[in-house]
C-alpha cells in the first residue's frame, strides 16, 4: 500500500560488507528490503511470521528472522546474507558441507539453514548432534532433510 501522506525514512546499513543507503517506508521489514528493494533473493520468504526460519540472516553476527525485523531499525548494522558467503565460484565450506551431506532437496530453506548454522557456530553451541538439532529448531525443512542438515553442520563445526 502506497500512501503519499506517509512518512519515508532514510536508512544506511551494510549488507555483506557493502554500504547501502535507501529511503523506505517504515513498515518495510528487513526481509522485504533485501528482496524487494535490493534484489537479494537468496534470503527466502516462507511463513513471513517467524516460524520457519527461511529468512534467517546475521545482524552484527547474530542470527535473527528478517521477516520479524523492521529494516529501519537496522540503521548502522552489519547484515550478512547467503549471497555474502561464496567467493566467486568457490563455495563457503559450510555450503560445501551441505552439498557433500546431501543436506537439501528442494533447497528453499537452505539459505536460512546455512545462515542459522553460522550463527549457531558463532554462538559456540555446536557441541554435538543433539545440541545442534535443538539449536536449529527455528529452521524447518519440509523435505525432511534435518538429519543430513545436522550432519553437515557437525562436520563443518568439527562437533
Amino acid at each position: 500500500m502506497t500512501d503519499s501522506s506517509r512518512q519515508r525514512v532514510a536508512l544506511a546499513l551494510a549488507i555483506n560488507g557493502r554500504r547501502h543507503r535507501v529511503t523506505i517506508e517504515p513498515s518495510t521489514t528487513l526481509l522485504d528490503l533485501l528482496r524487494d528493494e535490493l534484489g537479494l533473493f537468496g534470503t527466502k520468504k516462507g511463513c513471513d511470521m517467524g516460524a520457519c526460519g527461511a529468512c534467517t540472516v546475521l545482524v552484527d553476527g547474530r542470527r535473527i528472522n528478517a521477516c520479524l525485523a523492521l529494516a529501519v531499525m537496522q540503521e548502522g548494522r552489519d547484515v550478512q546474507t547467503i549471497e555474502g558467503l561464496a567467493e566467486g565460484e568457490a563455495l563457503h565450506p559450510l555450503q560445501q558441507a551441505f552439498v557433500e551431506h546431501d543436506a537439501l532437496q528442494c533447497g528453499y530453506c537452505t539459505p536460512g539453514q546455512i545462515m542459522s548454522a553460522l550463527g549457531l557456530i558463532g554462538e559456540g553451541r555446536a557441541t554435538d548432534a543433539a545440541g545442534i538439532a535443538e539449536q536449529m529448531s527455528g529452521n524447518l525443512c519440509r523435505c525432511g532433510a534435518h538429519p543430513n542438515i545436522v550432519a553437515a553442520i557437525a562436520a563443518y563445526a568439527g562437533a
Binding site: P26, G50, N65, C67, L68, A69, M73, E75, G138
Partner: protein, 324 residues
C-alpha cells in the same frame, strides 16, 4: 498492510513523551508485535523504536538481580551469573521460542507477548480480547490449549511466556515507568485476570514502559519442566517452575508456578503449602503434586491438563529436589 510512522527514541523520557499519543506502540525486538501487525491485530499509527535505549543492562547485586527490559533473551540466558544463581530464569528462557527469536526478543517484550489462542491470532474470528464484546468462540469451541485456572465467561486464553512463570516462582517485580514516575509492581499483581475486560492484560497503562525486572536472591534449588507438543520451538501445554529451599532434608520454602494452565502465570499455593515442613522425598512430592490442580475448571477439550499438571509438578519437584 497497515502503514505506520516511525520514531527512534534515544532517551527513556523521549520515548514516554512520544507515547502520549494513544495510537503509538513501543517496539524493541518486534518478534511478537510484528506478527500481530501482519495479522491486522496491532494497528499502531506510530512505532516508537526503543531498542537503542540503555535499558539492556543485567546488574547483579547481593540481594538480587536487575534485568534491563531491553536485554535480549539469549543474552540473559547466557549470562554467567544468571546461570549460576538464577538457573530457573536461564532454563525458562532456553525452553522458549527459537534461537533466532531469542536473539531479537527482549525481556520486557516477552512479558507483554499476547496469547497464542488461535481465535485471538486469527485476526477475524470473534474474540473478546481483540474485539471486546464480540464473544469467545474458544469456550464452546477448540479449547485444548486453553486455561483451567482464571478463566471468565469472556476469555479463557492462557498467557504464553515461560519467563513469566519462572519470575512468578521467584517473586520477581516489574519496574514500570510512566509520565508520573516509576513504580515497582510484583509479578503477581502485574497480570490481570480476564474478568469482563480481557483486552486489559496487565496493569501497564497507555504510554507506560517496562524498564527492568527485579529478581530477589534465592538459595533455592530450581527446575523448569515444560511439556509441549514437539520437543523444541513450541509453547507449553503445561509447564512448572519450582524453587525449593531444603534444610537438613526438610522443605523450608517451596515456590511453584505453572504455565499453560492459567489466564496468567499461576502460583500453586496449595501444593506449596503441602510441602512446608515435610521431608523432601518422593512421598512428599507426590502428596504436594496431588494438590496442584485444586480449583481447576477444565473445558471440553483440556481436562487432561488437570492430571498433566499434577504429574508435571511431581517431575519438577523431583528434579529440583534431586539437585545438590
Amino acid at each position: 498492510m497497515h502503514a505506520f510512522d516511525y520514531a527512534r527514541a534515544t532517551e527513556p523520557s523521549q520515548a514516554l513523551d512520544l507515547a502520549r499519543r494513544p495510537d503509538a506502540a513501543f517496539i524493541a525486538g518486534g518478534t511478537d508485535l510484528l506478527q500481530l501487525w501482519k495479522a491486522g491485530i496491532a494497528r499502531p499509527e506510530l512505532m516508537i523504536d526503543i531498542s537503542r535505549l540503555a535499558l539492556d543492562i543485567v546488574k547483579p547485586r547481593d540481594d538480587g538481580i536487575a534485568i534491563g527490559a531491553l536485554a535480549r533473551l539469549s543474552d540473559v540466558a547466557d549470562h554467567p551469573i544468571v546461570q549460576a544463581r538464577w538457573p530457573l530464569i536461564a532454563e525458562a528462557l532456553n525452553a522458549g521460542a527459537s534461537a533466532q527469536v531469542r536473539n531479537a526478543a527482549t525481556i520486557g517484550g516477552n512479558l507483554l507477548q499476547r496469547t497464542r489462542c488461535a481465535y485471538f491470532r486469527s485476526g477475524d474470528m470473534p474474540c473478546n480480547k481483540r474485539a471486546p464484546g464480540s464473544g469467545c468462540p474458544a469456550i464452546g469451541g477448540e479449547n485444548r490449549s486453553h486455561a483451567i485456572f482464571g478463566g471468565s465467561p469472556h476469555c479463557v486464553a492462557t498467557h504464553a511466556s515461560d519467563l513469566a512463570v519462572a519470575l512468578a516462582a521467584l517473586d520477581a517485580s516489574v519496574r514500570v515507568a510512566g509520565p508520573a514516575g516509576s513504580r515497582l509492581v510484583g509479578i503477581g499483581d502485574f497480570y490481570l485476570l480476564p474478568g469482563d475486560t480481557p483486552q486489559r492484560e496487565t496493569v501497564l497503562g497507555q504510554g507506560q514502559l517496562i524498564c527492568a525486572v527485579d529478581v530477589p536472591a534465592t538459595a533455592g534449588r530450581a527446575a523448569y519442566v515444560k511439556v509441549r507438543d514437539r520437543a523444541s520451538f513450541e509453547f507449553a501445554v503445561v509447564s512448572v517452575a519450582a524453587d525449593l529451599v531444603i534444610d537438613d532434608g526438610i522443605v523450608a520454602r517451596a515456590r511453584l508456578a505453572a504455565g499453560g494452565v492459567g489466564t496468567r502465570p499461576w502460583r500453586l499455593t496449595e501444593a506449596e503449602a503441602a510441602l512446608i515442613g515435610e521431608r523432601a522425598d518422593a512421598a512428599a512430592f507426590d502428596k504436594a503434586a496431588a494438590q496442584a490442580s485444586n480449583g481447576a475448571e477444565p473445558l471440553a477439550h483440556n481436562a487432561f491438563k488437570v492430571e498433566l499438571l499434577r504429574r508435571t509438578v511431581r517431575r519438577a519437584l523431583q528434579v529440583a529436589g534431586g539437585k545438590a
